[in-house]
């Protein structure tokens, strides 16, 4: 993202058509640079009043390209003459990360100062002090660098129209990553509003390579007829990265995610390079990897850890050390995914499968910011299926295939929030607002009836039983506009604005153990999900910030821990935030599996494994679903291989278990991996299938997504969690603010209770619609499960085996490692505790 990346000799430019103002020509000349073709192309589009999407690989000078039209325009405009009104914000830059806005500020200031341009640049993020924000509203800078949340807040102010009256450009950075989330939906609605407030506005999107650029092009411009697109400028990729899969001399394990087997080889690679960036998929993996590396770090190489849960000051320290090239290696999660500049990284090691081809490309892009030099990367698969996944991701990287996620329809909870924000700024007419909202690409297909439901929700909860009208937040007035009923509504909106519902987090505070006396004070190591801590009992140990910690208890917002003496943590770290393998990569793995002629590209251990599977059971074709049954111990197992990622598999397991219960197969438990599902029970399911007491086509019929799904959803904690987020974003329940949440817990209303009441009394309420839509793509991945069930219809092959097959080994090894959460286990837990009591207290009066 650094502007200096244009220092390499540029390709031939088509600069003849465009006249850069003199200061620019001089500046380029003084550096010995020439503007790149796409930078001038983008300038030309903007001058012609066009919005545009720029797709370019890392290091192509994307940022300067995005700002060049602004800088040229401002240079021409010159300083405001004394006595005239100082113009408002000229260009709005929006990035997904606060840190990125700060980074851009620094990088943009250099050329502006060197060219002595009359341009003021400022950032506005959640960290900006209130006084500066106030001043910015009265005396705005020319270029404002900000985040989607801040844009929503600015738009909700009464003077929004005036504030944006001089806006000419909006630059949206890392657009590919923004558009896939609810933040993207919020931003799309904000952009639609900007387009209405400033009719000549030019939107410039900056993006990494994506599979369907047309969707992003539509995203940038108002959808009036439908299908309108911004112009497209594509910069061809630089040098092909040099990616290899670690060919380990060690045995590649069957399952697991730690890749511990390869540590010595990874360490050797770190020693051989200047600076290595090690990527993993989850926070817990980063902790493990970091600990393993230090265990063998005989040379005491400076190796650091960086993930989003660590304390900010610790992270800043690591970032500074990194920029100062003081580190040899850094273990990181996705917090470093986005385009921040990280000094001289010459090797990226990806531990575990990247789970997606585009994700691999973006992470490897971190290694090298000079696009004409090949980046170097090593993939370290953690288990044998991951070997195939890594191979598929690597093939895709050479083929240039992209599997960025599809864009979802605009979320309804975000819509509700936006409607309230709009009303806070000024009264609105429903017809006008509907037209404005449907101009935003994610909401282009929004039915009017749903929009009206959303307005009703904002007004007074939108319940069929309209008993809250007298307390309404917004009211339809005589002139046909909706107006905010009370100034406190705007305050409520500002406190709740935003779409990032973090799981409630507690500070981890390290204290010293004291005999007898209470534990007090100590440094904060970072933050951890409340949900994880709630499952711990005092004395349990877990891994965090590279240390094994002993859980002592919770005090207000602090999770009190002490240093544990054991080397191994007892409770496995929370596995949340794991990405499921993308549909594309899954398909490639299925193909690879089905094609023995290509197995020789895989490490010998893996190809041998597949060959034995072929001999002992069966290797399914890419369209088939293989189901194996076999006895083991005193249990009977059914293992299926849909290759659709953990989330869809978990849902599948829940539903299959219900069906098996009905069929009297007496299922006891299940486990789901990215590749397979295993269900075990007391009855021989193979025999049941042979005797036609059970039918696989019936078991895997698509109708499981009907009543069974509905019945399961009643109890699913996953859906409750989804609902909680929707209800908070939509403004039904208030966001928890630090320091307030723990007071009077019995007086608050839990989202779970609201969910239960709503499901019983008003199943079509807009928030339940929003929850179901989210579940489809989110935690339950119902959409993907549905696609799979329809794909395998009539293509299920059953192998009735006498013993476990080679392919089944990995998922069988997961049994016992993964905890199956859910409502069903709660009663069992209480029953166990009650049994303990009876055992302890024989003769006691219970």
């Amino acid at each position: 993202m650094a502007l200096v990346s244009i220092a390499t000799p540029p390709p031939a430019s088509s600069s003849d058509g465009i006249d850069l103002p003199a200061p620019f020509l001089d500046w380029f000349a003084s550096k010995g640079w020439r503007p790149r073709a796409h930078q001038l192309d983008l300038l030309e589009k903007a001058e012609a009043g066009r919005s545009a999407l720029l797709i370019a690989p890392t290091g192509a000078g994307k940022t300067l390209a995005g700002f060049l039209p602004t800088l040229v325009d401002l240079a021409r405009r010159g300083k405001a003459k004394p006595g005239t009104r100082k113009p408002g914000v000229h260009t709005l830059y929006i990035s997904p990360l606060k840190a990125l806005a700060v980074d851009i500020h620094r990088n943009l200031s250099t050329p502006v100062e060197e060219m002595a341009l009359p341009v003021e640049i400022e950032t506005r993020t959640g960290d900006t002090p209130q006084s500066r924000r106030q001043r910015q509203k009265l005396n705005p800078p020319d270029i404002l660098l900000t985040t989607p949340e801040q844009l929503a807040l600015l738009l909700s102010h009464k003077d929004a129209e005036r504030f944006f009256s001089d806006l000419r450009h909006v630059v949206l950075d890392e657009l590919h990553s923004l558009v896939t989330s609810k933040r993207g939906h919020m931003l799309a609605l904000g952009l639609a509003r900007l387009h209405r407030l400033c009719p000549g506005l030019k939107a410039i999107g900056l993006s990494a390579t994506v599979s369907e650029p047309d969707l992003l092009r539509q995203w940038l411009v108002p959808q009036r007829e439908g299908g309108e697109m911004a112009d497209l400028i594509t910069v061809a990729g630089g040098a092909k990265p040099d990616i290899t899969i670690l060919k380990s001399k060690e045995r590649v394990p069957w399952s697991g995610h730690s890749a511990r087997y390869a540590m010595a080889e990874v360490y050797e690679a770190i020693r051989e390079h200047k600076t290595t960036l090690l990527f993993v998929n989850t926070r817990s993996q980063s902790e493990l990897l970091f600990q393993e590396l230090w265990r063998i770090n005989e040379d005491n190489l400076p190796i650091a850890l960086h993930h989003g849960s660590l304390d900010v000051s610790q992270r800043r320290k690591v970032e500074q050390a990194m920029q100062g090239n003081a580190l040899r290696a850094i273990v990181a999660t996705s917090t470093l995914d986005l385009g921040i500049d990280w000094g001289d990284v010459d090797l990226v090691v990806h531990v575990g499968s990247p789970k997606g081809a585009s994700r691999l490309a973006q992470r490897i892009g971190r290694a090298n910011h000079r696009m004409d030099e090949a980046s170097k990367a090593i993939l370290v698969p953690a288990n044998r299926f991951e070997v195939m996944e890594c191979q598929a991701a690597l093939d895709a990287n050479y083929l240039g295939a992209q599997d960025t996620p599809p864009l979802a329809d605009g979320a309804l909870d975000v819509l509700c929030q936006h409607i309230l924000g709009t009303a806070c700024a000024e009264p609105f007419r429903a017809d006008d607002l509907y037209a404005e909202i449907t101009a935003a690409a994610p909401y282009a297909g929004l039915p009017r009836a749903i929009f009206d439901q959303a307005v009703q929700f904002v007004a007074h909860g939108g319940y069929a039983l309209q008993s809250y009208e007298r307390y309404a937040r917004i009211r339809l007035t005589q002139d046909g506009t909706w107006r905010v009923s009370h100034p406190s509504v705007a305050q409520q909106y500002r406190l709740n604005c935003g779409t990032i519902i973090e799981a409630p987090m507690l500070n981890i505070r390290l204290t010293r153990q004291r005999k007898g006396g209470p534990l007090r004070g100590g440094p904060v190591l970072g933050k951890i999900e409340e949900g994880f801590i709630e499952a711990l009992a005092p004395g349990d140990t877990f891994l965090f910030a590279g240390k094994v910690l002993r859980f002592e208890g919770i005090h207000e917002n602090d999770c009190i821990v002490s240093k544990a003496s054991d080397l191994n943590a007892k409770v496995p770290a929370y596995a949340g935030g794991k990405f499921p393998t993308t549909t594309y990569l899954s398909e490639q793995v299925r193909k690879m599996l089905a094609d023995p002629s290509g197995w020789d590209r895989l490490p010998r251990q893996v190809s041998d494994w597949l060959a034995i599977q072929k001999a002992k059971s069966l290797v399914p074709s890419p369209e088939q679903l293989l189901v194996e049954t076999f006895p083991r111990g005193n249990r009977f197992y059914m293992v299926a291989y849909p290759f659709e990622g953990r989330l869809a598999h978990q849902t599948l397991c829940m539903l299959l278990t219900r069906r098996l219960e009905r069929a009297k197969a007496r299922p006891l438990g299940f486990v789901a991996s990215d590749y397979a599902v295993a269900i075990w029970g007391l009855r021989d399911m193979g025999q049941m299938l042979r005797r036609s007491e059970l039918s696989l086509s019936g078991l895997f019929d698509e109708d499981m997504l009907g009543d069974d799904l509905e019945a399961w959803l009643d109890e699913s904690y996953l859906l409750k969690r989804t609902f909680r987020a929707c209800a908070t974003i939509a403004g039904l329940i208030e966001k928890r603010h630090p320091g307030r949440e723990k007071s009077g817990r019995q007086m608050t209303v839990s989202a779970d209770l609201i969910y239960d009441v709503l499901r019983t009394h008003e199943p079509d309420h807009i928030l339940l619609q929003a929850t179901r839509n989210d579940a489809r793509t989110g935690l339950l991945d119902i959409g993907r499960l549905g696609d799979m069930l329809s794909r395998i219809k009539g293509r299920i092959v059953h192998k009735d085996l006498e013993m476990i097959s080679p392919l089944a080994v990995p998922v069988m090894l997961e049994i016992g490692k993964e905890t199956v959460h859910g409502g069903e286990t709660s009663d069992a837990l209480m029953a166990e505790a009650a049994d303990d009591l009876i055992r302890d207290a024989i003769g006691a009066d219970i």
Binding site: G461, Y471, A535, L536, Q746
Partner: protein, 240 residues
């Protein structure tokens, strides 16, 4: 706090746990009500009726079905045990004006529940005034046999005392799994009722607010499961 909101059928089907209390049998129902068999007395506490409309006054719009849902559960309890007396142990209403906001359906439901039996409203800190427009008598406390019924437990009380107010709940955690549920809390002398309202949260029995109320060695949390009540000793319980 509950496993899930129970339907009227589920509430009826729950299996009560019988305990000895003040020399008589008390049935602890998984719906959160207690039935004193000898006296044919049904006790519920902390219904917080009209909590939804109370929140709506500050523009937080919870689903307006809490009163109907809570009363339906109470009606199911009344049908299940057929008590001669029903005692609401305080905070029946979320605020002091709440009884005036009751809809006609809710008033009719209360009349039906009270029909043919005595209904006693013990006042609570949320509803210190007697409720308006509903049947039943309002009292500050009540003695039934040798047992005292009041909203907030008195620390000086030495005899048998049944109270509410605290919304007790208990938490268990083992091997990375955890459960937190509303419960009856008792040491055999004092009994603290769980809250009966559908929108009510809970306060962990390990909270300081319970200090001095119970004889720790005889303490039991009777946790409300899906269709059973589980008696859990102090050993396995942890704070929030």
């Amino acid at each position: 706090m509950r496993a899930a909101l129970k339907t009227v059928e589920q509430v009826t089907a729950g299996e009560a746990l019988a305990i000895d209390y003040a020399e008589s049998e008390v049935l602890l129902d998984p719906a959160g009500a207690a039935y004193f068999t000898d006296d044919r007395l049904l006790v519920v506490s902390d219904m917080h009726l009209e909590k939804g409309s109370s929140f709506a006054r500050r523009r937080v719009f919870l689903p307006p079905y809490d009163t109907a849902a809570t009363l339906a559960r109470l009606a199911a309890m009344a049908a299940k045990y057929d008590p001669s007396t029903i005692v609401s142990l305080g905070d029946a209403f979320h605020d002091d004006e709440a009884s005036e906001r009751l809809g006609d359906d809710a008033i009719a439901a209360i009349r039906a529940i009270a029909s043919g039996r005595d209904l006693v409203w013990v006042t609570g800190n949320h509803d210190p005034s007697p409720p308006e427009g509903v049947p039943g008598v309002s009292v500050e406390m009540l003695a039934f046999g040798q047992t005292i019924f009041r909203h907030i437990a008195e620390r000086d009380e030495t005899g048998h005392e049944v109270s509410g107010h605290l919304h007790p709940c208990a938490r268990l955690a083992r091997e990375g799994r955890a459960v937190r549920r509303a419960c009856f809390a008792s040491d055999g002398v004092r009994l603290v009722m769980p809250s009966f309202g559908v929108f009510t949260g809970g306060l962990n029995v390990r909270d300081a607010a319970y200090d001095g109320l119970f004889d720790a060695s005889r303490f039991r949390a009777y946790m409300l499961g899906t269709d059973r009540v589980y008696a859990v000793g102090p050993k396995g319980l942890i704070g929030d």
